[in-house]
């Protein structure tokens, strides 16, 4: 008899308790959705009430009760994508496929999904289809994407790069084999999105063909994690006898020439080299946590061990008492990097002293803030650093089990982490009697299912306990009563990855970096309207200006800097007048924003701050669990008021109502998500009240963003009648004779802006 697919899935789990979300993930991947029958069957087999399964299936956005298309088109609507025009991408896609976001085409070919940040912010706006990431998507690119995936399943294969027929001289190759050669290909998300997998494969192949796979007994080509400078991906670093040269925008077709001319011939291919901004980008940074990220192969535990990996854990486990470890952590002044900034050492001490023999560690890798992707980069680039940090902590707190709760939106990170845990277990770094000590500790990976609120620690615990992500009132705090009621220490990825560095080099060293109250370094993801998008690690207290201009290279196209949004949906907008603010916990709070998890979205004169506020509050409204009144009802009302303002229906009363709603939502929401959700409104009201007033009193959007308040017209003097705009216009609203000025019919215009983007002569005006 054939077994039921659900039985197959259940047989792969030792128990359902604590694994229900994973089981549902597997059921969904088997059927492509969660069929009613399968859920009833699961309920019958496990004794879990069917209502609970239904409740979970409808709470988490990853689960669907309706069949999905063979091809899932994920449109990223994270912050960076939003300010770069994700809404227009979505509009265009919806128009072309004739369905709305969340719907499936009648032929079951496509489903459009809205996802809040895939962490590829440097390439905004981004669309992901079938594991392929498309960056800087335009309306023309959408046509190509749809065409590419319209077939039966597999996309049309990419064209193979043509090979240059003449291999270099044999003597040169022989000389090259005596050198120390190392090629590093950035396989962070940015790299992969830009095609690094092909580049990596081709480097391997070409080197093998030339007989250079290994020199001096070492593998020549390494995949490495995120190098940080995502704007120029694919980045490739070639090191010959210790001298490193970096290439940018490397495409598969360029690989052969780099190998032949540079690696074998000894002469770098000048025109493809990374420019001076590459050095500039790195010179002002202080890489503590990201030190190994982008230099070692994240899938090779030996690469980690060669740079001293797991030596710190060995020293801590064999030479330090738990109290000494905690004292060191306290003395370092490290504060939680997930956003709240609670002193890490103190949290550990609470957990160590909490009643109970069984203690649990949790790594919060539910990096939900749109516009932040440092946790993803750390796990993808240096997963063992997180594991080592947790081993040291397990020793300090006497914990026996640990969990990494990670977003399902990060498949590559999940894969690398699982791989790293397996390797660590094989080497005896996880399991029984770790490193010969008495410590037993093991780690498990747990997947999220698309709920931002699960980044909140009590909601995260609920999710680990197979519940919907409803937060709980504190106290009790997780360190006393957490997962399954046991003392639980939850820290964020970046915090865990910092632990081994502190124990290795000492608290005094760590505390010497940064400011009086904010110690150490912090990683920021620098995205939005900025030249050098990417991941940067800087000492606490660095002036914001240095991040934006010295590292970030300023604003593209000579536009004016308007604001930087820090801290994700819970954060605030810092205006140009505060650009010299030192970036640390205290000063960011003083200017009305927060450190948060480290997202930095730069905005220029073309960004409408009322629209930005609406974007963030809409995000919180969609992600609110709906349990408490202020968050559920308050965020919706704020969105409505902001929507009325941006569509020209605002009145002065809107501003006072916004202020009242902000106050009650901040003061009375149950958890951090609700409490901080009005921050973007409050900070933009504080610094950009004039923009609100322009929308309300003059019915004008100064940045030219709010559709209802702008009009597209053609400047007759500048229009040469090329008809490009008329051909691109989806509404056929533009008419005119060839080589004569064109006109836009305002009645049928839907203000999609395609004409504005397509005009090469600047003849289309937006006002």
């Amino acid at each position: 008899m054939e077994t039921h697919p659900v039985d197959d899935i259940l047989s792969r789990h030792l128990q359902v308790t604590g694994n229900l979300i994973s089981v549902l993930h597997e059921v969904q991947s088997h059927y492509n959705y969660l069929p009613q029958d399968a859920l009833y069957y699961l309920a019958k087999r496990t004794g879990i009430p069917i209502t609970r399964l239904y409740s979970i299936a409808t709470f988490y956005h990853f689960f669907s009760l309706k069949p999905k298309g063979r091809q899932q088109i994920h449109v990223c609507t994270g912050t960076a994508c939003h300010v770069q025009g994700a809404q227009r991408v979505m509009d265009e896609l919806e128009r072309k496929l004739g369905i709305k976001a969340g719907e499936t085409t009648p032929d079951l070919q496509f489903t459009i999904n809205e996802v809040r940040c895939v962490g590829a912010c440097s390439f905004a706006p981004v669309v992901v289809v079938g594991g392929e990431t498309f960056g800087e998507v335009t309306s023309r690119k959408i046509t190509d994407i749809i065409k590419r995936y319209s077939g039966d399943g597999l996309p049309a294969a990419a064209a193979k790069p043509t090979m240059v027929p003449t291999p270099p001289d044999a003597a040169l190759i022989a000389a090259a084999t005596r050198r120390a050669i190392n090629v590093k290909v950035c396989m962070g998300l940015g790299g992969v999105a830009a095609g690094a997998a092909d580049v990596l494969k081709l480097f391997g192949q070409t080197m093998a063909e030339r007989g250079l796979e290994f020199t001096l007994g070492k593998k020549c080509v390494d995949q490495v994690g995120c190098m940080g400078f995502c704007a120029k991906d694919v980045i490739v670093e070639v090191t010959l006898d210790g001298a490193t040269t970096a290439y940018q925008f490397v495409k598969p077709a360029m690989v052969q020439r780099i190998v032949d001319e540079h690696i074998i011939g000894g002469k770098a291919v000048e025109k493809w080299l990374a420019g001076p901004e590459y050095a500039q980008f790195h010179s002002k940074q202080h890489k503590v946590v990201l030190g190994a990220c982008g230099t070692i192969d994240p899938e090779d535990i030996d690469a980690y061990c060669r740079i001293g990996g797991y030596q710190t854990a060995r020293r801590a486990l064999t030479g330090m008492t738990p109290e000494q470890v905690i004292e060191e952590m306290k003395a370092s002044g490290l504060k939680g990097r997930g956003g709240a900034g609670f002193p890490t050492g103190m949290k550990w001490e609470f957990c160590r002293k909490a009643e109970g023999d069984r203690k649990i560690l949790v790594c919060n890798a539910d990096e939900g803030d749109p516009g932040a992707f440092m946790d993803r980069a750390i796990i993808e680039g240096d997963p063992h650093a997180v594991i080592e940090g947790m081993i040291i902590a397990a020793h300090a707190m006497g914990a026996s089990e640990g969990y990494v709760y990670i977003r399902a939106e990060y498949p590559l990170a999940v894969e690398r982490l699982r791989h790293a845990i397996r390797q660590a277990r094989e080497r005896g770094y996880l399991g029984k009697n770790i490193l010969g000590s008495t410590l037993d500790f093991d780690l498990q990976v747990k997947l999220g299912a698309g709920a931002f609120v699960c980044g909140e620690e009590t909601a995260l615990i609920a999710s680990l306990e197979d519940q919907i992500g409803e937060p709980k009132p504190k106290p009790p705090f997780p360190v006393n009563k957490g997962l399954w009621g046991l003392p639980t220490c939850i820290n964020n990825v970046e915090t865990w990855a910092t632990v081994a560095k502190i124990i290795d080099k000492g608290a005094a060293w760590f505390a010497s970096i940064g400011t009086e109250k904010s110690k150490g370094t912090k990683i920021f993801s620098l995205v939005g309207k900025i030249n050098n998008t990417g991941l940067v690690e800087v000492p606490m207290g660095i002036p914001l200006r240095e991040i934006i201009y010295d590292i970030g290279g300023g604003i593209p196209h000579g536009k004016k800097f308007k604001a930087v949004q820090t801290g994700g949906p819970s954060g605030g907008c810092i205006p140009a007048e505060h650009i010299d603010v030192p970036v640390d916990y205290e000063n960011l709070t003083a200017v009305g924003s927060i450190m948060g998890s480290g997202g930095m979205v730069v905005m220029d004169e073309d960004t409408c701050m009322v629209d930005v506020a609406k974007y963030f509050v809409s995000f919180c409204m969609d992600e609110s669990c709906g349990q408490c009144t202020p968050c559920r009802e308050g965020t919706r009302e704020m969105v409505r008021l902001l929507d009325e303002i941006t569509t020209g229906r605002g009145t002065p009363e809107h501003l006072s109502a916004l202020q009242e709603l902000s106050a009650v939502t901040r003061d009375l929401s149950l958890c951090g998500l609700g409490k901080t959700s009005p921050n973007p409104v409050m900070s933009t009201l504080r610094y950009f009240r004039d923009e609100y007033e322009a929308h309300i009193y003059e019915k004008r959007c100064p940045a030219g963003v709010c559709k209802e308040l702008i009009e597209f017209t053609i400047n007759e003097a500048a229009c040469n009648g090329c008809s490009m705009c008329a051909r691109q216009c989806p509404q056929k609203s533009i008419t005119g004779d060839k080589r004569k000025p064109h006109v836009i019919d305002q009645k049928s215009c839907i203000k999609c802006g395609i004409c504005f983007d397509s005009c090469k002569f600047g003849a289309v005006r937006k006002a």
């Binding site: 409740s55 409808t58 992600e623 669990c625 709906g626 009144t629 559920r632 009802e633 009302e637 009650v664």
Partner: protein
């Protein structure tokens, strides 16, 4: 005992109480929708807001139903800040549920006649207090209804909005609902548990063994029988008949032992 200051007066209260429980015990009025003495603290409706300050607790507005009492805690239930915040919460709830009369009555008592909010929401009478869901799951042990969706789409419902397989027709959900959104509809010997247009479940009612009045669902009866020891099984008998029987037996007693003068 724990000493707190409640609206300026010092009170001695039991250590295990929440501020809401302590205040009510002291006769101080605090409204609430999602609190029930028989169920644990949930902290959803937030109309029980108070202003509190204490050792290790920064002064601010907070929900009293989830705030444990502690020595030195100072609580105000009537400050302008509390009243303003409470009005806002009621206004938000009324905006979403303008037809929920019990809610509107309560809101009126705290100064909210109408609401500026709710235009963009789908109106219904449910305040999402979760009492029905929690009573069914925690007290009845059934989980016939639960919350589905999240945020704006959060709603009390059955699996797939279908007729529940699990409901036993006890009516605890309806009894505990503060707005009458979930109700028991007994007609012509049949019972339906409803939430507006959704029918949670339908049952034939078993009759009173004495007078034949439709009384109780079979599933509920079975659950009671399983819960009770064998020599203590429930009578399937309505309240009127039970009273009559008690009265009759009292008369019989009097016949046996006539009261002395």
């Amino acid at each position: 005992m724990t000493t707190i200051t409640l609206n300026g007066e010092t009170c001695e209260v039991a250590d295990t109480l929440t501020v809401l429980e302590a205040a009510r015990a002291a006769g101080v009025d605090i409204p609430s929708l999602c609190h029930h003495p028989g169920l644990g603290a949930y902290g959803a409706c937030r109309v029980c807001v108070v202003e509190a300050e204490g050792p290790g607790l920064r002064k601010g507005l907070m929900a009293s139903c989830t705030l444990p009492v502690s020595n030195g805690l100072t609580v105000r239930t009537d400050s302008p800040a509390v009243e303003q915040a409470r009005r806002m919460v009621f206004e938000l709830l009324v905006g979403r549920s303008p037809d929920a009369e019990p809610l509107r009555d309560m809101a009126r008592r705290y100064g909210v006649e109408s609401s500026r909010f709710g235009q963009s929401a789908v109106h219904d009478e449910c305040v999402r207090c979760g009492l029905c869901v929690r009573a069914c799951r925690e007290k009845i042990g059934t989980a016939a209804i639960s919350f589905a969706g999240r945020g704006q789409t959060r709603v009390v419902t059955t699996e797939f909005n279908a007729i529940s397989e699990l409901c036993i027709g006890c009516g605890a959900c309806a009894a505990i609902c503060p707005t009458g959104t979930v109700y028991v509809d007994d007609q012509r010997g049949e019972r339906a548990i409803r939430r507006r247009e959704l029918t949670v479940a339908r049952f034939k009612l078993e009759p009173c063994l004495v007078c034949g009045t439709p009384l109780v669902t079979e599933k509920f009866l079975l659950r009671r029988m399983q819960a009770l020891p064998e020599d203590c099984q429930p009578d399937v008998i309505c309240l009127d008949c039970k009273r009559r029987r008690t009265a009759t037996s009292a008369e019989m007693l009097e016949d046996l032992w006539p009261l002395a003068e």
